[in-house]
């Protein structure tokens, strides 16, 4: 169903808010391999965290990095809920996940895009607080920037904000192999060692 608001065509969806026509196309990069829409209810953060950690594991990250990536996602979503939507728990959030192609020594990585319909904010004003000032709150942005390799906030074209963050898998030069930890196996080329 369409009507006009200030000359802009509006779409009234059956189960959602009225939105500018064409806005659906704006949500999320259609090339994202995984696209999720959720409402801004903290109850669902655990499910999104587990899904992202699981995907990150399949993309080659170790357990600790998977945990940190899901932490960065969680912090970003909490900021949307807390600051963007002022703790309104029924607002839309979109998440897109895309793997990164291998580059240099990195076998790949992950890009996560989070979009909302909250008020636009000047990206220059989205900064973490000084850690020396120990007080409750205000750590989310610091954590996101600490965990992820690249973080970019930008206003979306019509309404809301977009956060794009990515992280690459880092491979050790000579990763330890399972056999290196097993008794009875020797490292190849180790003349002093022998199989027992």
């Amino acid at each position: 169903m369409k009507n006009l608001s200030n000359g802009v065509p509006m779409i009234q969806s059956r189960d959602g808010p009225t939105r500018p026509a064409g806005d659906e196309q704006e949500h999320m990069d259609s090339k994202a391999h995984i696209q999720i829409r959720l409402i801004s209810d903290p109850t669902y953060l655990c499910g999104v965290r587990e899904m992202v950690a699981s995907v990150a594991r399949r993309l080659g990250f170790d357990d600790m990095d998977c945990s940190k990536i899901s932490l960065a996602l969680d912090e970003a979503l909490c900021n949307v809920i807390r600051h963007g939507y002022a703790k309104a728990f029924d607002k839309p959030i979109w998440i897109g996940i895309t793997p990164l192609e291998p580059e240099g020594k990195s076998p790949g990585g992950i890009t996560i895009v989070i979009e909302d319909e909250a008020k636009k904010v000047d990206p220059c004003k989205i900064i973490g607080r000084h850690l020396e000032d120990i007080k409750p709150g205000g750590l989310g942005v610091h954590i996101i920037r600490e965990v992820m390799d690249h973080v970019r906030y930008e206003p979306r074209e019509t309404i809301g904000m977009r956060l794009t963050m990515s992280k690459r898998v880092v491979r050790e030069e000579n990763p330890p192999r399972l056999r290196d930890h097993l008794p009875g196996f020797a490292r190849k080329g180790d003349a002093a060692s022998k199989r027992v």
Binding site: P42, L45, M64, D74, L131, P136
Partner: protein, 112 residues
Amino acid sequence: MHENETFLTVSEPSSGVVVISPSADVDMSRSPILRTAIQQSMNPKTSKVIVHLEDVGYMDSSGLATLVEAMRLGKSSNTSLVLSAMSPKVLAIFEIARLDSFFTIVDTLEQA
């Protein structure tokens, strides 16, 4: 029963010592429950509050904020706050926020 109703247990193994044991992730949806439990425990009769984190696999900055707030409350009420049995993944967020040296963190509940 809603999962949040069984999110944590509170015990008093000895006089003046309260142990609060969350049993799941401490995130934005659950940290208010932890905050309330800590606030109720920190009274003039309590000398030490131990937050036992053995069953906590994940904590976000709302959990951190709750514990920073608890530390401040404890200083004003002369109640010490100890964190025990923290997993490496939970410790990582304390390190990222440079808060690992701000808290008293011990390996086991017995050490607390």
